[in-house]
Amino acid sequence: MAALLERQIPTPGAQIWHDQNLIEQPEAPAVIELDHIHKTYTMGDVEVHALRGVSLTIRQGEFVAIMGASGSGKSTTMNIIGCLDRPTRGTYVLDGQDVSQLSKDERADIRSQKIGFVFQGFNLLSRTSALENVELPMLYAGIDSQERQKRSKEALAAVGLVGREQNHPNQLSGGQQQRVAIARSLVNRPALILADEPTGNLDSRTSIEVMEIFQRLNREQGITLVLVTHEPDIAEYASRVVVFKDGRIKKDYQVEHQRDASEELKNLPPVEEDEEEE
């Protein structure tokens, strides 16, 4: 396992951020710019103010954890950032494009091109091989078959699943399934990966493994990551934490002592690789 994870995947043009401080430098372009975002839901006769003026800028190469209790507005923010939902008021500029008032189809196209999703429940297609699951976003993006195959294999290799291409989700452990989901979120080379409670269904060791992959993708490929979690120790793997409360940002800080998942994995007692298989 460790050997697999240490494989370096060279990506042309990838910026490698060795130094945390670099992120703070103004030349890193903003990927997400939320400006006074409001979101109001009408449930029956009651108006629910889910977001009350959220402004947030996330720059390229950042690894941000969004935290907050349920009902704090973190899920709504997540949906807006992911272009699954539109703000009632305020502007959202994603990767230089104002996406706050796009139509349903336009948002679908933005999701296809610029955002990769990782969900708590993995959400892989059952009875479908890992390779085909990873290919799925490219089918909708209209990428040709050869390129699909090539990129899917690369993405699966990047998450340490070489040799598992033909396995179906029910033949993979939870951690492996989540890694397939991460590979799927990577293949369209998005500007941003959004992970919604990615470790919610995983045990602590597997959680660390998944965080290790996120950290590696962030450091080696400069991928911008936004992670929604309610577990404080998981948030410590990120470089920056944003805490929501009552529809507003309550805290926004840089993590002083960012946890290093790959170091932690080395110190954990080894497990039999085959143990988690069927």
């Binding site: 699954l84 196209d109 999701r111 959400n123 297609l125 479908t128 976003p137 909708y140 209209g142």
Partner: protein, 407 residues
Amino acid sequence: MNLLSIIRIAYRALARNKMRAALTMLGVIIGVAAVIAMVSIGQGASASVQAQISNMGTNLLFVSAGAQNVGGVRSGTGDNGTNTLTEDDLQAIQREVPSVSMMSPMVNSRSQLVVGNQNWNTSIQGVSEQLPGIRKWTIDSGEFFTEADVRSGARVIVLGQTVVDNLFSGMDPVGQSVRVMNLPFRVVGVLGRKGQDPQGRDQDDIAFAPYSTVQKKLLGTTRIQVAYVSAVSADATYTAQVQISDLLRQRHKLSGNQPDDFTVRNMSDIAEAANETNSIMTWLLGSIAGVSLLVGGIGIMNIMLVSVTERTREIGVRLAIGARSSAVKKQFLIESIVLSLTGGTIGILLGIAASLAIPMMLGWPTLVSTTAIIGSVVFSAAVGIFFGYYPARKAAALDPIEALRYE
């Protein structure tokens, strides 16, 4: 997002649940196969009637006493109390109408035939010596009676194969004596075998005697209800029909607006009537089978609806990772069309196979109809689109956030 990718996505989705796909298709398979098999049976019956009719001779005409019933062709002659057709009329037809080559009166008597201790009830038809030529009978042994026998009212008889089988087991009946209503008749010939007619009646259960003999000895009448007339050729049939009518009207002294007191019909009239019956049958069978096709279509809709609910999360994922709702709609529509068209194709093969097997197993003639095949393909595609549209629209209308949260 091109259509080809969506078709690929739909195929993959179906391949993930092969058992369910197969069961869904079953309804359409059975429906299409039933339509094709039923229509084949109908068309086969039709074709076989046509063949039999043309075998009887397309130049055949029937002249019968009494006016034709309005609104329908009567295939029987019946005893409707009329006595408007005389022997003289018939002889005049043969003598004076140039387009007529042969003529035979026909009087029918159903009687018991007795040989020793065997007896058999059959139809004894009184005809002229020209009948074998008109009705295309062959003679197996002996010979048909002669004009002299007709003139003299000789007690001679020609037997069909079924009668021979029942009265003379294995013996040659020619020269033997048969008793009909206690009168001895001499068997002069045996007819060749004809088999069943399209209605399944045994054509060989018959005996022929001179019409003069049947009239005098068996029926005690001089009436003639019907006569077979042969036109010189198939093309001359219509001319013959008109000429016979003109002659009979003249002989019966009917003025311009008086209706005919006789009927002249040709085989094509009868063929038409038979065809009409058969096409009604074909439509009836086809429609019943069509209902099962419709039920199959509803089965597809049912499964597609269940499938949309069951796959809500999957739809959510597809939408989240960048599928437009139109792509999801097309995917479900294509899944439904693929199901119905694949089912349709298998159904066609099965229907053709059944159409080929039915003649061997049941002895019914069948004729595979191209129209039924094309119709089934079109119908099953229409079923797919029609019954797939609603579930597809439902899938496309899902909100990705809600769908992803669906348990």
